[in-house]
């Protein structure tokens, strides 16, 4: 993981004991109390997390300016402040939803999912023996997305950093959905398992919007160059599988819309051009979804104002 970006992932709430205690309370409280508790924690985080709040403010301000060029500066600032606060509060709901998904209460009575997109097409694609990558951004509840796909009979392997404070909760969600994780992070060679899974016709789910890894490429995002990780497109190209952009949008507590977009193939005589074009198509989907659901965009690291030197560029 890039050292510069790592700071944005090191929040005082982002520790194993805090997550474990929170998850225990939330699994044993009535859901409505759980949402109240996590919203209170999110309010606290909003007030006392200047790094995350400032980078989120920069990100949201840029999106609002680009999407609404006719807004006056004072309007952009006012709406940015409100939206940043709302994103923190929504992140509290995100945690409460995650605890319900990972906990022991029956999902059917607490969670409702509405699919949007060709999920049957994904099922047919997998039955045809070809693997696929479900690729998403830090937007909405991506773990709930694996539940939607997993419970529709498509076996999913989720790619995740094994040392994350909330990993035990992610595993809880995945057990419920029949999803099995592939842990990456410190082990350089864990990527072999991803290639094997994809070549064996399995579906892997990964987030691909923050350049945690050493390889990134700079591409226009909301009209301004931003760095995107190369990993997903490189894996897809070398394994010969398409990327399916997928998102799980929380409509209200306990209610989600699962969005699946058309597959993106990485093909062409020049591999670098093919990867770049595929990533650009994926970024266009991200732009559309982020513009529509900015209030659920949980990217607390700086997208455009980052000048860190954690990556080594595209090659």
């Amino acid at each position: 993981m890039s050292d510069s970006l790592k700071h944005y992932n090191q929040h005082f709430f982002n520790t194993r004991p805090v997550y474990a205690l929170g998850a225990w309370f939330l699994d044993n409280l009535p859901p409505i109390w759980g949402y109240m508790l996590t919203r209170a924690c999110a309010e606290f985080a909003y007030r006392f997390s200047p790094w995350q709040r400032n980078s989120l403010t920069d990100n949201v301000r840029h999106v609002l300016r680009t999407v609404n060029p006719d807004w006056a500066d004072c309007d952009v600032e006012r709406r940015t402040r409100k939206l940043v606060h709302r994103i923190f509060i929504n992140r509290g709901d995100w945690f409460a939803d995650l605890s319900i998904l990972a906990g022991k209460r029956p999902l059917a009575t607490l969670m409702k999912f509405t699919p949007e997109g060709d999920f049957d097409g994904l099922g047919r694609h997998v039955k045809g023996g070809r693997g696929a990558i479900l690729v998403s951004a830090h937007l909405g509840n991506w773990h709930a997305g694996s539940v939607v796909v997993g419970t529709r009979g498509v076996q999913v392997r989720s790619i995740m950093y094994g040392n994350h404070a909330a990993s035990f909760m992610y595993r809880g969600v995945e057990r419920r959905a029949g999803v099995s994780p592939i842990l990456v992070g410190d082990d350089t060679f864990s990527i072999v398992e991803i290639v094997r899974a994809l070549k064996g016709g399995q579906v892997c789910a990964m987030l691909s919007d923050i350049p945690w890894d050493s390889r990134w490429i700079e591409l226009p995002f909301f009209g301004k160059p931003a760095r995107f990780p190369l990993g997903a497109v490189r894996v897809a190209r070398l394994a010969g599988v398409p990327l399916f952009p997928a998102f799980c949008i929380s409509v209200r507590p306990g209610e989600f819309r699962a969005i699946l977009r058309d597959p993106i193939e990485i093909t062409g005589p020049d591999p670098d051009v093919a990867e770049r074009e595929a990533l650009l198509r994926l970024i266009r989907v991200y732009e559309e979804i982020i513009a529509k659901y900015t209030h659920l965009w949980f990217n607390f690291s700086p997208v455009w104002s980052w000048n860190g030197n954690g990556g080594n560029g595209a090659h």
Partner: protein, 87 residues
């Protein structure tokens, strides 16, 4: 295939797959490929090498543990290819 010729092919494959800016002959037989003090390859290069070995030599690396053992150096890759009987 003769050992020297196999090593040359493996070196060529590594340089092309990982897009190294050195001629294949400069890659030491025992140079540690994934050690920062050695060649300094990363996880994306693992992927390139796994696919490169499969494509060039018809030998697959099935899991991370095997990858860790096989992709140490040019010599370990050559040994694995020879053991698989595909050289």
């Amino acid at each position: 295939m003769e050992n020297g010729a196999l090593k040359d092919r493996v070196k060529q494959m590594i340089v092309e797959s990982a897009r190294l800016k050195i001629p294949p002959s400069e890659l030491g037989d025992d140079a540690l490929l994934f050690d920062p003090a050695g060649v300094g390859l990363d996880s994306i290069d693992v992927l390139e090498l796994v696919v490169g070995i499969e494509r060039s030599f018809g030998v697959s690396i099935q899991d991370g543990e095997t990858g860790k053992r096989v992709l140490r150096s040019v010599n370990t890759i050559c040994e694995y290819i020879q053991q698989s009987g595909k050289s």
